[in-house]
Amino acid sequence: MKKRTYNNPVGVGKYTGLLLITPFIAGFLLFTLYPFAASFLLGLTDYDGVHPPQFIGFENYRELLADSELHDAALVTIKYTLILVPLKLIISLFAAMLLNLEVKGIGIYRTAFYVPSILGANLAVVIMWQFLFTSGGLVNQLIGLTGADAVSWYGDSRYALVTIILLRLWEFGSAMVLFLNALRDVPKEYYDAAKVDGCGGVRSFFAITLPMLKNVIFLNLVLQTIAAMQEFNAPYMLTGGGPMRSTYTIGMMIYNEMFRYHDAGTANAVSWLLFLCITAAVLILFRLTGRNREDSI
């Protein structure tokens, strides 16, 4: 076993770091490892929440992997994630840049932009979305102005997912806040220097802003991907998973199995499958952005 060297500042022992993360270690054992382990074990049982669990080995997994319901939900979830995450990053970055301007009253605008995230899944939002996307709603009226046919947003399985994506896009507040934090750290002198060199706005965006925001972009990318893959609330409130299961995500499937069909075994098994997929996705993100684990630790 090769002796590992620890890259610490002078005078710092190799256990100082470990000491610092003890709260996490303790919390992890109690509040993370224990529920995860319990969940994994329950995934190997047939448990309805009332009778003692019956051990059935990997039967749940076998059933699920052959089940088209899981495949369909997985496809919906992947489609949703691939469309939502890039759009959300772009929009929140754009909004953050807009809110970074030094104009009077910018504070009010910042609060206004964040309001959707505060509202969350409120009745108002559900009703607003109906006013927008039902057959006589605002969006179809606007489409009518251009002469095209009205779209059946809620009723057509090709378009229902769009309503959900738009809802989450509208709630870009949290990602925007993180971008805002980071933008504030880009020194103005860089932009001034670039202007002197003849760089226009677009050029300095790609040459200065993006590189300086590398860390935060990665952060948002990972966090938004995890959140999108676990999505449950938006389809639950807006479409109930329909029509024809076109908005039925894995998150919804887990909720239904656990709380409505009283099949905790299957619910936990699906959660573990989701867990593996998310792990894989995050690993891919780490690779794609050229970071290996050392870099980000």
Binding site: Y6, P9, G11, K14, G17, L18, L19, L20, P23, F24, A26, G27, F28, L30, F31, Y34, P35, S39, A95, L98, V103, G107, Y109, R110, T111, A112, F113, Y114, V115, I118, L119, G120, N122, L123, A124, V125, I127, M128, L138, W170, V177, L180, N181, R184, D185, P187, N215, F218, L223, I254, Y255, A267, S271, L274, F275, I278, T279, V282, S296, I297
Partner: protein, 276 residues
């Protein structure tokens, strides 16, 4: 000058789209049921403020003020715990190297990947065994242990953005590990710490399932549960405007907290860095 006008126009247009549902919600608290569900325009036909009085008083023996207090009893310890433990743990990961670091980091990341629903029942059983059901401990204790992997991850990313030279400068001045943390790193990442506090505040305000399962006495209900007391889709109908009025009352602290906090996003790493 033209740039400023375009900026303002763009800001205002987007802001209106963002806040229209809130305007509608406030307007709806004055509308009758049929008006609510058939009119997209936010202005109500009449303004009847008595709905706010009855919403505040609630049909329970406690007023909304009582439920607000309950929520604060949860949020304040939770936020303080979360910030303290997350900063400490993130510092350990960001600036130090130690045995099994890679393993613990992977576990930290991994803890974020599981949907939270799955942990609700096992944790409920744990709290039941420990006898702390119907208290606020299940809601606040995990934060003392940096249970939100997301916050730690965020802090790590931002801490990595602080140049190591600052640390070295502090060390030359005789600071130990903790002092470096408090006098160098924390000021630099203060905006992120404020963000974490704001997120904790907002998510706790909206958190519904965890309090529902762990708390049984109405006296201890936080706001998120009190808001749902009155809405019963299986019943004989009720004035929706009252529930909406309660929602509006419940949104005020969140909006106020955010408005106050967003000023703190101004200072950045460069402030007081090498010279401080």
């Amino acid at each position: 000058m033209k740039k400023k006008i375009t900026a303002y126009l763009l800001l205002t247009a987007i802001a209106l789209v963002m806040i229209y549902p809130l305007l509608w919600l406030i307007g709806a608290s004055f509308k009758s049921n049929d008006e609510i569900f058939s009119s997209v325009w936010f202005m109500p036909k009449h303004f009847d403020f008595s709905v706010y009085r009855s919403a505040w008083e609630t049909v329970t023996p406690y007023s909304m003020g009582h439920y607000f207090l309950n929520t604060f009893c949860i949020i304040i310890p939770k936020t303080v715990f979360a910030v303290l433990s997350s900063v400490l743990v993130a510092y350990g990961f960001a600036r130090f190297d130690f045995p099994m670091k890679r393993m613990w980091f992977s576990l930290l990341m991994g803890s974020m990947f599981m949907p939270a629903i799955v942990t609700v029942m096992p944790l409920y059983l744990l709290w039941s065994r420990l006898g702390v059901l119907d208290t606020y401990i299940p809601l606040t204790l995990p934060s003392l242990f940096a249970a939100e992997g997301m916050f730690v991850f965020m802090l790590i990313q931002f801490m990595k953005g602080v140049p190591k030279e600052f640390d070295e400068a502090a060390r030359l001045d005789g600071c130990g590990a903790l002092k470096t943390l408090f006098y160098v790193l924390v000021p630099c990442i203060r905006p992120v710490i404020v963000s974490i506090s704001v997120f904790t505040f907002l998510w706790t305000m909206n958190d519904f399932l965890t309090p529902l399962i762990n708390i049984s006495s109405v006296e201890k209900y936080p706001l998120s549960l009190a808001l749902r007391l009155s809405s019963d889709s299986t019943g004989n109908g009720y004035e929706q405007c009252k529930i909406i009025a309660m929602s509006v009352i419940g949104l005020i602290p969140s909006a106020a907290v955010f408005a106050a906090a967003q000023k703190k996003f101004i200072s950045g790493i460069t402030a007081g860095g090498l010279t401080g």
